[in-house]
């Protein structure tokens, strides 16, 4: 029964943590005996094992040679990077429930559950939810709830599954645990070994035996250390949590035992990493707008020419850094920038696949590092009467696919540059502006936005007929229909015959229709610029009319004053 001042604490403990950290990337090995090795070959020793390997007789500190005889035993090298990622995932799991979280070890997290029952339900329900969340992050954890943090930690280490210890029942519940559980997180192994030896000599095997010892006699023989251990066994310690602010770093790493050559298995592993990252972001109510993928390559002469097709440069970065050392390794990096915050692992995977298809690493991969930049998710409400627009996730995938067809620099939106150069524009990533609801739109005076007609412009008498059948606003028409110029890319070189300084005839080897008499010419209009730099330009422009088979075509003829050549820039249409 809970009293009014009952302050519950929960402890999440991951047994065999180095093994669990590796199993996050390879969950299919969970059903098999697995041993984690540490050290340099051939002196590798067992650092951690799972329960199945333990039952098969594999123990810590055994050499690799000793255990290789065990059939069905999987061996993996210890990965500090994956352990760091697993620890971060554990912190995120705890933070998704409580803001007061203590980092009590790389495999142990303690959290304050005060005030969470109205949100998440009774304490047993919270404990089970913690275990499920940890399992969703790839970690099989033991969870215990108690009235003080130390009792919760002991219970989590001693009992498997989910344990809830009621206030006042600590001695009863903890009594069956062996005394070794008091030293499982001990920093000083020598003192712990001495105390354990002493307890063994005295015949103290369980915590209930230690709790039953007289306090004064124990303090006379073992000092304050003994008293502290007895209080732990009785569940009577009281301390405040030292909360930690979990860093907003969302990274996942996989170190491979064998280099990956093909992109398909890479996509399989990337899918797992993305699911983990997205699960952690979701637990913290966050999304991401930038994904960074870093691949460590093995002995690769990373060919940048091969990885960038047809010389395009995209918004993602690709860099190669050579590491010095006996095993020359290089890192291959790609950055995925998104226009809106997203949290769909399938969309991310597809975008990464399309990007890697367009820019393959060019060498076998030995390590995968994926990180996500956290941002607040975008609000999901949209107006009922707003014009349709593409879904951001679908649009990103479509743009990536189109970029794979036409090239990254050939798809996007236009941006005019502040220059008089005719080709003064650049392509940028397409991110359509959000449509504002009508009451949020700034008032517009369309009449003021249309520039007044300059000298020489004649506004043709275009009928401003009402939009019959459309229901559109009458301001749908700009005054006058603009004559469009179609550009020839590249421009068409021509040979021009002058008569009295005016183009009179034109011939072209590339296009036979651009040949014959020039019926009409207007110009020249001279323009120039950038004379202060290396890309100076100067040109004379003419508008000409040339007879085609049955019609008359209007072209813009240009003479490059610096180079002297004539070319047709485009056609008025």
């Amino acid at each position: 029964m809970l009293t009014a001042d009952f302050m519950p604490f929960a402890c999440i403990f991951v047994p065999d943590f180095p093994v669990e950290a590796l199993l996050r990337a390879e969950p299919e090995l969970r059903s098999r005996p697995l041993a984690v090795l540490e050290g340099k070959a051939p002196l590798q020793k067992v650092f951690a094992v799972n329960e199945k390997a333990r039952r098969a007789g594999v123990a810590q500190e055994m050499s690799k040679l000793q255990i290789e005889a065990c059939s069905g035993l999987e061996l993996r090298a210890r990965s500090l990077a994956q352990e760091l990622s697993a620890h971060a995932a554990l912190l995120d799991c705890a933070q998704s429930f409580s803001p007061r979280v203590e980092d009590a070890g790389y495999d142990t997290i303690i959290l304050d559950l005060a005030g969470l029952e109205p949100l998440f339900g009774p304490l047993p329900k919270i404990a089970h939810a913690l275990a499920r969340r940890a399992s969703a992050f790839g970690l099989e954890a033991c969870v215990a709830v108690a009235a003080n943090p130390d009792t919760a930690a002991l219970a989590a280490r001693g009992f498997s599954g989910v344990t809830v210890i009621s206030q006042g029942k600590e001695v009863e519940e903890l009594g069956s645990l062996p005394v070794e559980v008091l030293f499982s997180n001990s920093a000083d192994d020598r003192d712990a070994a001495q105390l354990l030896q002493t307890f063994n000599r005295w015949g103290i095997r369980k915590l209930r035996d230690l709790a039953a010892l007289p306090e004064i006699a124990l303090s006379e023989r073992l000092g304050q250390a003994g008293v502290r251990l007895q209080n732990l066994a009785r569940g009577k310690t009281s301390r405040t949590l030292v909360p930690v602010d979990a860093p907003m770093i969302f990274e996942e790493v996989i170190e491979l035992d064998y280099p990956l050559v093909l992109l398909e298995p890479l996509a399989f592993l990337l899918g797992r990493l993305l699911e983990q990252v997205c699960a952690r972001l979701e637990a913290r109510a966050l999304a991401t707008q930038e994904l960074r993928l870093s691949l460590e390559l093995e002995n690769g002469c990373h060919d940048e020419e091969a990885s960038v097709s047809s010389g395009e440069t995209g918004p993602s970065t690709s860099s190669v850094q050579a590491f010095s050392g006996s095993h020359a390794r290089r890192s291959f990096q790609r950055t995925l920038c998104l226009p809106v915050p997203l949290l769909d692992p399938r969309t991310f995977l597809k975008l990464l696949q399309l990007d890697l298809n367009a820019h393959p690493p060019g060498a076998p991969i030995v390590k995968i590092h994926l990180s996500a930049e956290p941002v607040r998710p975008r609000p999901g409400q949209s107006g009922l009467f707003l014009p349709p627009s593409p879904e951001p996730e679908k649009l990103e995938l479509t743009l990536a696919r189109i970029a794979g067809i036409v090239g990254e620099d050939k798809v996007g939106s236009l941006e005019l540059l502040d220059t008089h150069h005719p080709g003064g524009f650049r392509m940028q990533h397409f991110a359509p502006r959000e449509t504002l609801l009508p009451h949020r739109r700034p008032s517009r005076n369309l009449g003021a936005s249309i520039s007044s007609a300059s000298a020489g412009q004649v506004l043709a008498g275009v009928s401003m007929a009402s939009s019959r059948g459309t229901g559109e606003d009458s301001r749908a028409y700009v005054e006058g229909l603009v004559t469009a110029l179609r550009i020839f890319r590249p421009a068409i070189n021509v040979v021009v015959t002058l008569q009295g300084g005016k183009p009179a005839g034109i011939t072209c080897t590339e296009r036979k229709e651009l040949a014959g008499e020039i019926l009409w010419a207007a110009g020249p209009w001279r323009s120039s610029g950038d004379w202060w730099g290396q890309e100076a330009w100067a040109r004379d422009e003419w508008d000409i009319a040339v007879r085609l088979e049955i019609t008359i075509a209007l072209y813009r003829l240009v003479r490059d004053l610096l180079g002297g050549r004539w070319f047709v820039e485009g056609t008025y249409d």
Binding site: S310, P387, P388, S389, P390, E391, K394, L395, T398, R401, I402, I405, V406, K410, V411, G412, S413, L414, L416, P422, F430, P432, R433, G456, Q457, V458, L459, A460, G461, V462, A465, R468, G469, T470, E472, A476, Y477, V478, G480, L481, V482, T483, A484, L485, R486, I487, R489, W520, A521, A522, G523, P524, D543, A545, I550, A553, L554, G570, Y572, D573
Partner: protein
């Protein structure tokens, strides 16, 4: 139900007491009263497929002619060079972006002039520009597919292929239509050689037409000759009739070249097909002019 009048054989088959003109009306009244046929609608009054929503084309004269461009349908405007089709394209895109719709332009020949587009009033923040062109596909590229040509006699580019702009345009258009959400998807085939564009199979046009059906996307194509054939719900032909040069007619040579100015193009438009009305399509013409703004 009252019985029909007795037909007297002596009267030669004509009902006794009724004029021959009243007989058809009487028969229809009797048929309409029969319960089994109460829900039958005569063929003459059968409702056609719901008329698609029409949106402004950006050109008043075209809106007056056709009622605008239909959503969920393919509209094709064709004509020779300097006939005004690109001006119509830019006006349509400008009108769509003014409606705050996201649009896409599949530029098969990479011919868009950014300055003309800005002068037309297109909101670049809502226009996706896809620039097709010849592209080299290296061996092992996953994008290789039918429609590319193998490069011969070049050891450096052995087993590489060139993908043609028309093939790119078809794939890109398919992706855009499948993605959905665009107010207008425009395909600019204005400078594509007729031989190359005619190779687009009719099934591709059918596929595009079916993709936009029941959506709010306007699929708009400009070309030199009509390619979409029966897939186009609206077919418009434009032709530039004469120059409206500052100095007058072409034959006028009074003014020197530096004093002459191209004002614009007088465009003659003709509606060749419209599947949006129940009445048979009739040939209707309109005329409008463009003006040359700074660009």
């Amino acid at each position: 139900m009252s019985s029909l009048p007795v037909v007297s054989p002596a009267a030669g088959g004509c009902p006794v007491g009724f004029a021959a003109a009243k007989l058809p009306r009487l028969i229809f009244e009797r048929l309409g009263a029969m319960p089994k046929l109460a829900g039958v609608t005569p063929a003459s009054r059968l409702e056609a497929r719901p008329t698609p929503e029409m949106v402004s084309s950006g050109v008043g004269a075209i809106d007056a002619l056709t009622g605008g461009f239909p959503r969920g349908c393919l509209t094709e405007v064709y004509g020779p060079a300097s006939s005004g089709r690109t001006s119509v394209l830019l006006a349509a895109l400008a009108a769509a972006t003014r409606r705050e719709e996201v649009c896409a332009l599949v530029d098969v020949s990479d011919a868009l002039n950014p300055l003309s587009a800005a002068a037309a009033g297109i909101d670049f923040g809502r226009l996706l520009w896809v620039r097709c062109g010849l592209r080299l596909q290296k061996p092992g590229s996953p994008q290789r597919h039918r429609g590319t040509e193998k490069i011969k006699n070049n050891k450096n580019l052995e087993n590489s292929r060139i993908e043609k702009p028309v093939e790119q345009a078809l794939r890109v258009t398919d992706l855009l239509l499948q993605s959905g959400g665009f107010g207008m998807v425009a395909i600019d085939l204005g400078d594509t050689p007729v031989i190359a564009a005619r190779r687009i199979p009719l099934t591709s046009w059918f596929r595009f037409q079916r993709s936009v059906e029941h959506t709010s996307t306007v699929l708009f194509v400009i070309s030199q000759v009509p390619y979409a054939q029966t897939c186009a719900s609206l077919l418009l032909r434009v032709s530039g009739t004469k120059l409206s040069a500052f100095s007058g007619q072409l034959s006028e040579k009074t003014y020197p070249a530096h004093a002459q100015l191209l004002d614009g193009i007088q465009v003659q438009g003709e509606l060749l097909r419209s599947r949006l009305e129940r009445k048979p399509a009739r040939s209707v013409t309109t005329a409008f002019a463009t003006n040359l703004q700074a660009g």
